[in-house]
Amino acid sequence: MSKKVSTSSKMIQILDENGELHGEIPKELNNEQIKKIYETMILTRAFDQTALALQREGRMLTYASTFGQEAQVAAAFALEKDDWFVPSFREHGVFFARGYPISQYMLYWVGDGRGMQIPKDINCTPISVPVSTQILHGVGIAWAMKLQKKKNVVEIFFGDGATSKGDFHEGLNWAGVFKVPCVFICQNNQWAISVPRSKQTASETIAQKANAYGFEGVQVDGNDVFALYKVVKDAIDKARSDKGPTLIEMFTYRLSDHTTADDAKKYRDEKEVEVWKKKDPIDRLKKFLLKKKLLTEDENKKIWEQAQATVDAAVKEEESMSPMKSEDIFTNMYAEIPENLKEQIEEAKRVSP
């Protein structure tokens, strides 16, 4: 089945499945940063595993795993402090790389609105559930930056399924016309729930769609943090110097079910998953780090333990928070609560269970 998946012959790769280099490590990445990326990927996976466990116990809502897509972290590392990111719903690693408090992030996934009360020092939009819709916001945010003569950029994330929607098209077209400083990052994980990439579009690659909008598209091995960092960084540099947007097809794989509500065995061949497991972005970087003696098995174990401890602490913190109040339904609908809502607040108090 995996043969059906089309990749262009020009897919960029630096670090292969065996942890071997086939090119230069991007010069911006020193050893410390590489390890930071590695640690954040592990943190992301630890979060994921914990979330899945909590969900099974009914302590979380339906949850969308990032398992296999943790290299996304590298894309976040290419951003500067005041740059923005615009996520879809499968960018946990990006949130963590940007310093989003894990306990607060967890809040969102247990259905508490405060989860997306974004900390003031992080420039991002909240998780966006309606596929592809956030792309337009990202373009607007980037355009605002350009109009304000700021030198910041926006990374906009979405999936392969998202490329079929009108918003994808309108967003990329506007970005091309107005040359806004953004980078479109399509996490092509080969599936949109049960719909394989080959049924999503007849185009050979997603990267080539950029041609329709007058800018460049790049397909990159999405499980290779070095290649991903490089193409994203190049695109960011380009955007920052007002040379317009880029579409990056991050060629990766959803190793898990679509969400905890899904059972991928119903529609996809386990063999395909096995093939991709060998391309695991964390394993790959680990092999490299071990080989380069930047990591020992012992240190590795500690990183995992530390990650798990961090996540556990976050869960504890989240679960010990006082709940929201029922009136919070009404606040933040508008800057000022209008009369009819005030009346409804009163009514709600009167009739509340």
Partner: protein
């Protein structure tokens, strides 16, 4: 007869209509090999193949707009929108075309399509998965809007919707999918679109509702059964509305409560109140009460219980009209 839940009843309706009529096809996201995220289309792909049970690209406007074209040219598409919150991109095609094609061509081209939309909250779902957007469809002339509430009427109404010569928005109360079981005839049957049903007769007050709220209304009424004789009207179709049935009922009881899950302002309940006002104002013993979602965004799960009408709120509204 078989005892089925609502999802199964709908599945059976699809199965039987596809067997009967070759032009019926099912399309949407994950309706094929996966059988639908609610298992509603389970088994269809296996039975009818990928030409008639079609996994589409992720594009709701296209599910609707392409269905219009299919319907114009002799097919009977049954499109699925995966969740209520993703039905908004369809509104342009519905408003601008599906609802007008017959009128625009003075009857020459017609759009016999069905758009199935699971709707309603109360399932602890993610954002945009618990919406009740029926008003947006009911306000568009030229559409029919059907909202079943139990397995029995779901099957019959879906069969009628598929056979209907005009576009039908079929809103499935997702929190009822697996929550109610009921005897459902094995054979195919139609239930008339545009007709409400009386769930139980009563003399003190009429409670008017539809879809996901019927179950909640029943609970509320149950709790008051010793005290008041309540008539329950299940609208079943919201457009066109069966005014006659609820007007007659309210004329008899003199009191009414309308229960809807959607936000209050400009909801379907407002239309029902207005028609009662227009037709039988002087028969009213008390102002009609609306029990609705608040005029807020549907909250995330932690707070959704405060948003959704519940038996307590409905009970209090019944008390209000009884004690006016």
């Amino acid at each position: 007869m078989s005892v089925l839940n609502l999802a199964q009843a709908i599945n059976q309706a699809l199965m039987q209509e596809m067997e009967k009529d070759e032009s019926v096809i099912v399309l949407g996201e994950d309706v094929g090999t996966d059988g639908g995220v609610f298992r509603v289309t389970e088994g269809l792909w296996k039975k009818f193949g990928g030409e008639r049970v079609i996994d589409t690209p992720l594009a709701e406007s296209a599910i609707c707009g392409v269905s219009i074209g299919l319907a114009i040219n002799g097919m009977k598409p049954v499109g699925e929108i995966q969740f209520d919150g993703f039905s908004l991109p369809c509104i342009d095609q519905l408003y601008s075309h599906a609802a007008r094609m017959r009128n625009r061509t003075r009857g020459r081209l017609t759009v016999p399509m069905v758009l199935r939309i699971p709707y309603s909250g109360g399932t602890r779902a993610l954002e945009h998965h618990s919406e009740s957007p029926e008003t947006l469809f009911v306000h568009i002339p030229g559409l029919k809007v059907v909202v079943p509430s139990t397995p029995y009427n779901a099957k019959g109404l879906l069969i009628s919707s598929i056979r209907d010569p005009d576009p039908v928005i079929f809103m499935e109360p997702k929190r009822v999918y697996h929550a109610i079981k009921e005897e459902v005839p094995n054979e195919s049957y139609e239930l008339q679109i545009g007709k409400a049903r009386i769930i139980q007769e009563g003399t003190d007050v009429t409670v008017i509702t539809w879809g996901a709220m019927l179950k909640v209304v029943r609970e509320a009424v149950e709790q008051l059964s010793e005290k008041y004789s309540v008539e329950i009207v299940d609208m079943q179709t919201l457009s066109p509305m069966d005014e006659e049935t609820f007007i007659k009922s309210v004329q008899k009881t003199g009191r009414a409560v309308v229960v809807q899950e959607a936000p209050k302002t400009c909801g379907v309940a407002a239309e029902i109140v207005s028609r009662v006002n227009e037709k039988i104002l002087t028969s009213l013993e008390a102002p009609v009460q609306r029990v609705t979602g608040w005029d807020t965004t549907m909250p995330l799960p932690k707070l959704e219980e405060y948003y959704l009408p519940n038996p307590n709120r409905i009970g209090k509204a019944i008390e209000t009209v009884m004690n006016f």
